[in-house]
Point group: C2
Amino acid sequence: MDKKREEQLNETLMLFYFAYRTFTNEPDRILEEHGIQRLHHRILFFVARTPNISVHELLKTLEVSKQALHAPMRQLIEMGYITSEPAEYDRRVRELCLTEKGQKLERQLSNVQRGKMNAIFETMGPDSEETWKQVMKKIIDNEKDE
Amino acid sequence: MDKKREEQLNETLMLFYFAYRTFTNEPDRILEEHGIQRLHHRILFFVARTPNISVHELLKTLEVSKQALHAPMRQLIEMGYITSEPAEYDRRVRELCLTEKGQKLERQLSNVQRGKMNAIFETMGPDSEETWKQVMKKIIDNEKDE
DNA sequence: GAATATAGGTCAACTTTATTGACCTAAGTG
DNA sequence: CACTTAGGTCAATAAAGTTGACCTATATTC
């Protein structure tokens, strides 16, 4: 790989870092107002995307320990954002769902990010959305080759 | 925003999260072998991109406190990856540079990520690179509107 | 039915990585 | 000379994670 190509790629690394940081800034600010943190947001996000998700599934998705998940999850339950009910098919399993209040907060948090992405893709056209997603998918898939 | 559009955007949020996590996984693993952490990588990366960068500039770039930067930076200096020399134009200012050893480590770390990006853009074509970068730039710029 | 495995919860000790505040030196600048 | 800036360092604290151990309840398997 020649020097020039390497420098072009360095720009992509820098953009990735700054874009991610910027992207999480706004939600982080809102979270702080509610006295909760980024992991709370992730929990809310994935419970919103996957209603009735089990604790075990959530653990695997977020790649944190049971003990690390526990405190924020309990907080969300106590604050009335999430419900945790035994599953019918297996009463050991707890199914997590957002309450109405939880849906509202999750929407507030993620809307900032959705709005940002939507505005960009609207300016740049639908192809840009497809391309951007494709690149991100390939980054994720690459992992499997190693 | 209708439900369907919202779900499409949710996919982008998920991709962003997982892609970033995957992207930092490999370097993190290498860093661990050297007994250093992600902040060390960021220091190495930005010093590599901006030779002679001052401590103050680095602080602003990384958005951490002086005290948080200090320990890892000193470690990198002690391990012989970085040099810190008083600047000619102002002897209060320390100019940071990579040593040869530092350049080697930085290359090792960032090559993983550069290689990943390069492979993707080679498969998808040069337009995909331009588009992806454009989206990321807009995410960063958006910050200023708020 | 007893043994074992799984889902989940909780306590404790510890580690890492950051924060803020205070204070120091050295070197420029008005 | 007074003040500011760049940088370094100590101390107390906070947050967010880790591992290990142990508990209950419920399924599953032999």
